[in-house]
Symmetry: C2
Subunit: 107 residues, 2 copies
Amino acid sequence: MVLDCLSDPIRLAIVYQLAQQEHVSNELCCGDFYSLAGKSNLAYHFAKLRECGLMLTRVAGTNRFMRLRREDLDARFPGLLDAVIKSASKDAERLLLSTESDVIEAG
Amino acid sequence: MVLDCLSDPIRLAIVYQLAQQEHVSNELCCGDFYSLAGKSNLAYHFAKLRECGLMLTRVAGTNRFMRLRREDLDARFPGLLDAVIKSASKDAERLLLSTESDVIEAG
DNA sequence: CCAATAGTTCAATAACCGTTGAACATAGGA
DNA sequence: TCCTATGTTCAACGGTTATTGAACTATTGG
């Protein structure tokens, strides 16, 4: 289920990161997500995301380029992806603000 | 997280059932969900749904009436609830069709 | 007051899921 | 060819979470 897939914070972050780059290159490779988790853990999450139809992978040399399956998703679950991404961006803002204030408190 | 809460099939069914009755009574009580799970299991899921702000409970005698927190949800996660419910209704249709064909196959 | 109804809480079990490291496969560059 | 970089697969561990039944609370009706 797509919701189950998006309920994991790492997978949500992957989708969010992909969505943010949609107007730039549409694609990111595994290494672009090292800040989120280790390689094998990322591969696990990529598989989950592929399974439920959220993204697909293009192999190019030693790299795998991932991109969102936006058209299919918008067709099958109208508005869901945008709603999720919008919520995630709010969370990202809140997270950014809270870590900033943490730094201030810690300093 | 709201998504995590909605990723459970029983909780999604509860939310979906509540949403379908929204234009009728807005409220359902625990007993209306016995087809989904046992009482104690339902109480567990109700607590989860309350925790993440998806619904709230009104006590009236021995009954607890639940309703969706639609206004708050639409404000915090615009479009999410409707998108989820729309997807769930598609799933419900598919499920209905597949069980019908199961009956035909079984007959 | 007693019995029944409606639902919660608690403890225990089982299943699932995320995380990790090691081994593996594959492609590209020296 | 050998070495390195990029990812995947596998097995194992640990933690979370769903499920269940029993005990409990509280309210209604006889």
